[in-house]
């Protein structure tokens, strides 16, 4: 796992800050997200990205994936604090597992003006194996998934094409221990 934060972050401001992806299994009940978000804001921790979805309807469980920045000591404290919350079953730092897989999904809408731009976009989309969701005259919508780092690179490359308009949404990283 070598990808960096999805958003530009003043890394130097955080002494020995490390990006960590935390995977939290919780009872899916009202207020659980507020408890977690409140814990982060109340104790001054960072949330770089957040993803919440029910993963087990029968047992009523959700998995929350949180990307955060902090020294190792802070990350251990976050985990300990998360595990104190009543509806939390477990909180795991994926970096502490011997093996884990991480992915993110991104939808990108690009408006272009001419064929030259269209060709360049098509070229990058091909390199990054992004899937075309919709294409009209001067608008194309792609879906790209993979590590956050890969998506960052794709976006950086698109940035080199002048004069196009980009609108996008990202899921934030999700991850699983293997």
């Amino acid at each position: 796992m070598s990808s960096t934060s999805v958003y530009p972050t003043p890394i130097n401001a955080f002494k020995q800050s490390k990006r960590s992806v935390l995977s939290v299994i919780v009872d899916n009940e009202p207020g659980i997200l507020a408890r977690i978000v409140g814990l982060f804001s109340g104790r001054g921790y960072n949330i770089e990205a957040l993803n919440v979805t029910v993963v087990d309807v029968k047992k009523n469980l959700s998995r929350i994936t949180i990307e955060t920045l902090g020294e190792e000591k802070v990350i251990s404290q976050i985990i300990a604090q998360l595990e104190k919350l009543v509806p939390v079953h477990s909180a795991t730092n994926l970096a502490n597992l011997s093996e884990s897989y991480e992915a993110e999904i991104c939808l990108i809408k690009i408006e272009f003006e001419n064929d030259e731009q269209d060709q360049k976009i098509l070229n990058f989309a091909d390199i990054y194996r992004s899937r075309t969701v919709q294409k009209r005259q001067n608008i194309v919508v792609y879906e790209i998934s993979g590590t956050s780092e890969r998506i960052n690179k794709f976006l950086d490359d698109l940035d080199t094409i002048g004069g196009i308009k980009v609108e996008l949404v990202r899921s934030g990283p999700i991850g699983l221990g293997i």
Binding site: R35, G38, S76, Q77, E83, K84, L85
Partner: protein, 590 residues
């Protein structure tokens, strides 16, 4: 068709409280809890104590819980009723006190409409409770209440709130009793019941090797129960290791025992803080390395191997990195340490730490708690010392407010048993002591309950005198009256050039007349010759008493580690001058 197996939400609440063996509830009625008050009217197992403001209910529940070891329970209405208890809930969270707060909420269909006396109770109390609930379905009520009690009292205890909309109090469902509920383990977080054998062995080995060991004991020992305190006494006697306690640890180990170095920290004893600074082995039993205890972190006990026993995982390595830790209950762990020592016939007889005790006794010669009592004006330290001497033979509970008087009480009143000392440590809530005394007296009707107070703190919840009078609770409010917010003034003197900005309490009431107007008893000591008689009179009256003790207005609380200083940089008296560099650093801290 009425089903006789079904009960209203209000009745289910009462049944659950009975099931939980609750006999006392502190509360204040209002629109959103009227169905519950109606149910209270028709029963006789539960004694309701009507407070005069909801803050009084929550502190009384805390006092009840601390002094009895049971869960304290309170009942308040929606909106302002519940916002008034936010301070107390935070206080209980910081000091790990098990309480359950029941609050009324506007009817379900009005939630979110900005209805009269509506507020987002679960939103407001989420960060200041261990857990909270909004019960929208009456069929979930029994289970929720039982889980709330379990969570409040398990692991590291704390406050739990249950918000019940008015329509749910009227709606009907079956009652499920406590014994028919199976708790889901992950939600209870009770901590491990299995003692870490490795930790025990490492600890005993390190004790054998150490030259300068110390026990550092906190409120966790108190929460682990009386057995923890008994095992601790055994272990200290066996090993001859000096012991210091935090503010909340007072009473876990007898304060007058020769092994006790007294309290440590900002206003702790010189010998306790120096011993913490110089020790080579620190055994932390249920303390959380609070900033009031550690002083400047980078100079905190630099040369020690640190062991930490704490049921709360998040207290480990939070402020101070430790070498060994265990998350098992303290009583169980200490018991295992004692039996490991016994079964392996480990004798610490030759290991008497002579040099270490010699050093500690040198520090003790500083007599850091020495004060000069003249012939006229009462020194506050002397007032507490006399109070201790004149009450120590009695079955006494002491509560306090917050400030100088609280620190003097911690320094000069000695406790020999746990749960006798009830004070607001983490949050430092002025106005805590008197309602807490009401709660402690409810739980211990035959004991002597004294609130050691300052006049400024006392004024913050003065209305609760009426509660004490109504329920004939003979609590004693022992005010060290110096007409100042003493601790604020002390900091202004030390750090802000003696500019006493707004710390003088002008227009004070005549506390004697005030007591009389509430139908309580007022007594007063203006000088040293009146002190003992006043204390004796206060104790002998079987009614609530306000004792107005006029003390030296300029006295400060020493010893003191100024904020930002380290343990070995203590100020011993007003003649000690603070290092100006520390002063600047300390100014920005709390």
């Amino acid at each position: 068709m009425a089903n006789e197996n079904e009960f209203t939400g209000a009745d289910i609440l009462l049944k659950a409280l009975k099931d939980q063996e609750v006999d006392t509830i502190f509360g204040y009625p209002g629109g959103a809890v009227l169905p519950i008050y109606d149910a209270i009217f028709g029963q006789n197992f539960l004694k309701h104590v009507l407070v005069r403001q909801e803050a009084g209910a929550v502190h009384a529940a805390e006092g009840y819980a601390r002094s009895s070891g049971k869960v304290g329970v309170l009942l308040v209405t929606s909106g302002p009723g519940v916002t008034n208890v936010v301070t107390g809930l935070t206080d209980a969270l910081m000091d790990s006190i098990p309480i359950v707060c029941i609050s009324g909420q506007v009817p379900s269909h009005l939630i979110g409409t900005d209805a009269f006396q509506e507020c987002d109770t679960t939103g407001i109390t989420r960060p200041c409770t261990k857990h909270n609930y909004l019960v929208k379905d009456v069929s979930k009520l029994s289970e929720t209440i039982h889980e709330a009690f379990k969570i409040a009292s398990s692991g590291r205890p704390g406050p739990v709130l249950i918000d019940i909309p008015k329509d749910v109090q009227f709606a009907k469902s079956k009652y499920i009793s406590k014994k028919d509920i199976s708790f889901r383990e992950h939600r209870i977080k009770a901590g491990s019941k299995k003692v870490d054998k490795n930790f025990v062995e490492e600890l005993v080995n390190h004790i054998k090797k150490s030259e300068r060991p110390i026990f550092y004991v906190g409120g966790g020992c108190l929460n682990s129960g009386h057995e923890a305190s008994q095992e601790l006494i055994k272990l200290v006697n066996k090993t001859n290791i000096p012991i210091t306690t935090t503010l909340h640890g007072l009473g876990c180990f007898p304060g007058e025992d020769k092994s006790s170095l007294g309290m440590l920290g900002m206003h702790g004893n010189y010998e306790a803080n120096l011993a913490m600074n110089k020790c080579d082995l620190m055994i932390n039993v249920g303390a959380r390395f609070d900033d009031r205890v550690t002083g400047r972190l980078d100079a905190f006990s630099p040369d020690s191997i640190k062991f930490h026993i704490d049921i709360d995982q998040s207290s480990i390595n939070k402020n101070v990195k430790v070498n060994f830790h265990t998350n098992t209950d303290i009583a169980l762990t200490l018991k295992e340490i004692n039996s490991f020592i016994d079964s392996n016939s480990i004798d610490f007889g030759d290991k008497d730490y002579n040099n270490w005790w010699g050093q500690i006794n040198e520090w003790r010669k500083k007599e850091c708690l020495h004060y000069e009592q003249g012939d006229e004006v009462i020194k506050p330290q002397h007032a507490i010392s006399r109070l201790y001497e004149l009450t120590k033979q009695k079955d006494t509970f002491v509560t306090t407010e917050v400030g100088q008087h609280q620190m003097w009480a911690a320094q000069y009143y000695k406790f020999s048993k746990p749960n006798r000392w009830i004070t607001s440590g983490g949050l430092g809530t002025m106005g805590f002591g008197m309602p807490a005394a009401v709660g402690a007296q409810m739980a211990n009707p035959d004991s002597l309950v004294i609130d050691i107070a300052g006049e400024a703190s006392f004024l913050m919840n003065i209305q609760e005198i009426a509660t004490a009078v109504q329920y004939k609770l003979p609590i004693k409010i022992f005010i060290l009256n110096n007409e100042y917010m003493g601790m604020v003034r002390q900091w202004q003197e030390l750090l802000h050039g003696s500019r006493y900005s707004e710390s003088y309490v002008d227009a004070l009431p005549d506390f004697k007349k005030l007591a009389e107007s509430f139908n309580a008893v007022g007594v007063r000591a203006k000088n040293i010759s009146e002190l003992d008689d006043t204390i004796n009179e206060m104790i002998s009256v079987d009614r609530p008493v306000i004792a107005d003790i006029w003390v030296d207005k300029k006295e400060n609380c020493f010893p003191m580690i100024p904020s930002g200083a380290a343990h070995h940089e203590m100020l011993l008296s007003k003649y000690d001058k603070e290092n100006p560099e520390n002063q600047e650093k300390g100014k920005v801290l709390v």
